[in-house]
Amino acid sequence: MAKLILKIPGETSYLSRIREFVLDFAKTLGFDEEGLGDIEMSVDEAATNIIRHGYDEDPDLPDENKVIEIEITKIDNGIEIAIQDRGKPYNPKNAPIPNLEKHFEQMKTHGLGIFAMKQFMDELEHNYISGKGNLITMRKYLKSE
C-alpha cells in the first residue's frame, strides 16, 4: 500500500481513529518507537488544532463541512501525511516556537502542539486552498543506520 485516505468527522472522539490510521501505516514502513511517538503526537496535535480552533470556534461553518481528510503516502525513506480541513486560513508555520524553559517556568503549555509538529517532523508545509481549506503536509524520514 503506497497511499491511504481517511475522511472523518472533525470531532475529538475521532482522534484515536486518526492516530490508529496513521500509526498502523507508519509501522509498516519501519519507524521505530521514537519515530512512531513523534508521528502520533504531530498528527494528533494537527487534528486537535483543526477541531478546537478551526471548527469549534467557527459557529458559521455548517456541521457537514466539519470534516478532516488525511492522506498518508509512502515516500522515499519515509512518510508524508497531508491533513486537509475546511476551516478558515491558519498557518501553523507562522506560530512561534515557544521557549520551553520559560514556558514551563510560567506553567504554560499553550503552543506545545505546534512545537511538536515543527520539531518532531522533518518537514512541515502549509497551503490554503481557496474555497476548500487548509492543507498541512508533514514528512518524516526513517533514521539512517
Binding site: S13, S16, G37, M41, L100, E101, M107, K108, G113
Partner: protein, 116 residues
C-alpha cells in the same frame, strides 16, 4: 478495551493517593475528564501519584492539565508525580522538556516524595 475507552480509579498508598489511568491515550477527547478528576483530587490531598502503566500516550492537552494542577499543588507544598510511563511517553516528555518539571518514577512502589 476500545480505543476511546478511558478509566480512572484511585486508591490510597502510604501517605499519598494514586490515580490509576487506563486507556489508549489522554488527548483532546478525554482530557477534560482527566482534568476534572485531577482537580478534585488536588482539592483533597497534597500528594498525588498518577500511575500511567496502562496508558499508551499523552498529548499536550493532558500535559497542560498536569502543568496547571502542578502549579496549584506546589504552591501549597504538595506535588504530583507520574509513575509507570512507557518508553514512548518518556521519549516525548524528554524531547518536550516535560521531564524537567515533573518527577517521574518507574513504578508506584518506587515513588518517594522526599527531596527535589
Amino acid at each position: 478495551m476500545s480505543k476511546n475507552e478511558f478509566s480512572m480509579t484511585t486508591y490510597e498508598k502510604d501517605d499519598f493517593v494514586v490515580l490509576v489511568v487506563k486507556g489508549e491515550c489522554i488527548a483532546g477527547n478525554n482530557a477534560p475528564n482527566f482534568g476534572t478528576k485531577l482537580k478534585e483530587l488536588c482539592s483533597k490531598t497534597n500528594k498525588i501519584v498518577i500511575d500511567m502503566k496502562n496508558l499508551n500516550c499523552i498529548m499536550t492537552a493532558g500535559m497542560g492539565i498536569l502543568v496547571s494542577n502542578l502549579s496549584n499543588i506546589r504552591n501549597r507544598g504538595g506535588d504530583i508525580i507520574v509513575a509507570g510511563i512507557s518508553n514512548k511517553i518518556k521519549m516525548v516528555f524528554e524531547k518536550i522538556g516535560f521531564d524537567q518539571i515533573i518527577k517521574i518514577f518507574p513504578t508506584v512502589e518506587e515513588v518517594s516524595f522526599e527531596d527535589g
